[in-house]
């Protein structure tokens, strides 16, 4: 069936139309409450971000009043100090966003947090560069000297400023290597090591902030607040990126138990460990795994759970994409495994609507598989569409078919390549037959739509869902890099 159309995989049995049951109504209310709480928390986060930037500006205003703004030199100097404070505040926010703070993950999810982190990179860099430039110009106007003499005099001011210049250089390197076009030329590990220098950059900037100038002078409230920001950002990283993963890894002591080849280039890795339900993984979540063999320890892989953990086993499923993942297919049993996570809100918890619709492509089926297992589905609640460009991509389809059967869900498959020259997530054949989201899923508008697959493909589904008028809160998307 090389280019099959969408067809029912299990017969569509009588769907439970008519009035919704009591449990369904209760569940719907609970979901609405959860959603409101999450939306409020997300709003609060956004507000905190903005206010923290405003506060950093305010720190300076409370210190200087209007005195600095009277002369051109003073004005430029003031602007220079403000850009420095605001830029540093943004960088500390970026650290927090990347610190995998549980509150942030539960509220907006790691991927959105990282998207914002990426967005802030360039503005933060521009503010810091502006800080150096404006202060040099501002001081040189005030002193009646020139920019070069002023810069030389800065170097005479002691080690703190020297460190600040180093910090700026590091920051420039970190941001430039993270620009998409440049990042492609680096191996992930090289990029990551450079990226870790941002910690050094933020720390080397601190001495000059505290010793030079008066805004953050000893004994001021400003200084206490500012040090508090640093402690919060670095504390979050120390706790959530280092302490918690190490404790989890040691507590659960996971090792590779079995490697099962489920298709060419795709393996399910079963891990055995202690007390694994205490990981608290929800179906649809992923974790960042590191396999401690000689050839694989230096590369951490984000991989979704492909089944709910039992007390002593966890299963993840991975497709070979690069050299790193292809080594995973040849892991020895007994290899020690460390875990960061579980993370993500691509779960039943994030739902807002009475019906569930899932569309998955390729290896994107893995989190869907675990989510369907975890969600307590009432008969007929779920509709599933599995997408593959050819028959070899039917990873875990059997298992999903079984879940669909048990929960009386409608399951469809759509095999075949996408048409050339036309952007769509569907197969050419399905497109030619005028198949749409709405024609496939009668309950689409009362559904949460879960989309999981390669980024470009997933964006096409997203576009169709939006065109169909599905509100954002009903769309949940997990993109896999290819």
């Amino acid at each position: 069936m090389a280019t099959s159309t969408a067809h029912p995989r299990t017969s569509k049995r009588a769907r439970q139309d008519g009035p919704l049951s009591r449990e369904t109504v209760i569940a719907a209310r609970q979901r609405a409450r959860n959603y409101r709480a999450r939306a409020r928390a997300a709003d609060l986060m956004g507000i905190l971000c903005w206010v923290s930037v405003a506060l950093s500006v305010s720190l300076y205003l409370a210190y200087s009043g209007s005195s600095q703004f009277t002369s051109p030199g003073g004005f430029i100097t003031a602007a220079g100090i403000i850009t420095g404070l605001a830029g540093t505040d943004l960088i500390l926010l970026m650290l927090l966003l990347a610190a995998r703070v549980p509150w942030i993950d539960k509220t907006v999810g790691q991927d959105r947090a990282i998207a914002l982190h990426k967005k802030l990179g360039k503005p933060a860099l521009y503010l810091i560069l502006g800080h150096g430039l404006l202060l040099t110009v501002g001081y040189s106007i005030t002193d009646g000297s020139n920019v070069i003499a002023e810069t030389i005099s800065f170097f005479g001011l002691g080690n703190d400023l020297l460190l600040a210049y180093i910090s700026t250089g590091l920051l420039l390197g970190v941001v430039v290597t993270s620009v998409v076009a440049v990042r492609r030329h680096f191996a992930y590990e090289a990029w990551h090591v450079i990226h870790l220098l941002s910690y050094v950059a933020v720390l080397t900037a601190l001495p000059h902030q505290l010793s030079i100038g008066g805004v953050l002078a000893d004994g001021t409230l400003q200084r206490i607040y500012w040090i508090g920001l640093y402690v919060t950002a670095f504390g979050a990283i120390a706790v959530f990126r280092f302490a918690v993963p190490i404790i989890r890894t040691l507590r659960h002591r996971m090792r590779v138990e079995r490697i099962e080849k489920i298709a060419p280039g795709v393996v399910s890795i079963q891990l055995a460990g202690a007390d694994l339900r205490r990981l608290g993984a929800e179906g649809g979540q992923y974790a960042i795994w590191r396999f401690w063999s000689r050839r694989t320890w230096w590369h951490a892989h984000p991989i979704s759970f492909s089944a709910m953990p039992t007390d002593r086993t966890v299963r993840i499923t991975v497709r070979e994409l690069g050299r790193g993942t292809s080594r995973l297919t040849r892991l020895r049993t007994g290899t020690f495994v460390s875990i960061e996570g579980p993370y993500g809100i691509f779960t039943d918890q994030a739902r807002t609507s009475p019906y569930l619709t899932v569309i998955a492509a390729g290896i994107g089926v893995t989190p869907i598989r675990a989510m369907l297992e975890h969600a307590k589905l009432r008969p007929g609640e779920a509709s599933i569409l599995l997408r593959g460009s050819d028959g070899s991509q039917q990873y875990l389809w059997q298992e999903i078919g079984q879940i669909a059967k048990n929960t009386n869900a409608s399951a469809f498959s759509m095999l075949g390549p996408r048409p050339r020259n036309y952007p769509t997530w569907m197969s050419a054949h399905a497109l030619a037959n005028n198949i749409t989201l709405e024609s496939t899923f009668p309950h689409l508008h009362e559904s949460d739509l879960f989309i999981c697959g390669p980024a470009a493909w997933a964006n096409e589904v997203l576009a169709d869902a939006r065109d169909a008028g599905l509100p954002e809160k009903q769309i949940h998307i997990e993109r896999f890099d290819t």
């Binding site: 903005w50 009043g65 209007s66």
Partner: protein, 175 residues
């Protein structure tokens, strides 16, 4: 972010900035009325007294903890017979936060007192900072009997200016 959240962000950020501005300007007016002994000099680094040596690049000082590097310039007067007790006024040193000038009293070759004539006062908090730093510097100087003392942390500019001005006064005293 929802519209309401954006509105709240704008309003609260604005409030925070206005509050900061108010605190700053209040502190400033309070300090200019009560704690400014000498009328503030103009921002352009023109020394008030014509006899003093002017240091053109005040911010090129040595690293914070090292002594100010002026000893290369010898005292203008021959140190043959230093007055037994005398007061010397140091040069006015400009910093990004205002000028600094000190007066030193030397009794039989011993520093008996250092008094600031003018301290950094540009910006509301500078006065506060320099008022805090001055007694610490004075104590250190009287103990060390020279300008070779550590600068006060958080008051780097004030300390540098203070010690430079002091050194120029000591040069005059022939010490």
């Amino acid at each position: 972010m929802r519209k309401r959240a954006i509105a709240v962000s704008i309003v609260s950020s604005g409030a925070v900035i206005i509050a900061g501005w108010n605190i700053g300007t209040h502190a400033q007016t309070a300090q200019t009325t009560e704690a400014a002994p000498v009328p503030p000099p103009t921002r352009v680094a023109a020394p008030p007294a014509p006899t003093q040596t002017v240091i053109p690049q005040p911010k090129t000082s040595a690293p914070a903890s090292a002594p100010p590097s002026i000893p290369a310039q010898p005292a203008p007067a021959a140190p043959a017979a230093p007055a037994p007790s005398n007061t010397f006024t140091g040069s006015s040193v400009s910093t990004p936060y205002g000028n600094v000038q000190v007066k030193v009293t030397v009794d039989a070759g011993k520093i008996t007192d250092v008094t600031p004539l003018h301290l950094t006062d540009d910006g509301g908090r500078s006065v506060q900072i320099s008022n805090r730093a001055a007694p610490i510097l004075q104590q250190e100087i009287l103990a060390a009997q020279s300008a070779n003392v550590d600068s006060v942390s958080g008051a780097t500019y004030t300390s540098d200016g203070y010690l430079k001005s002091l050194q120029s006064a000591l040069d005059q005293a022939g010490r």
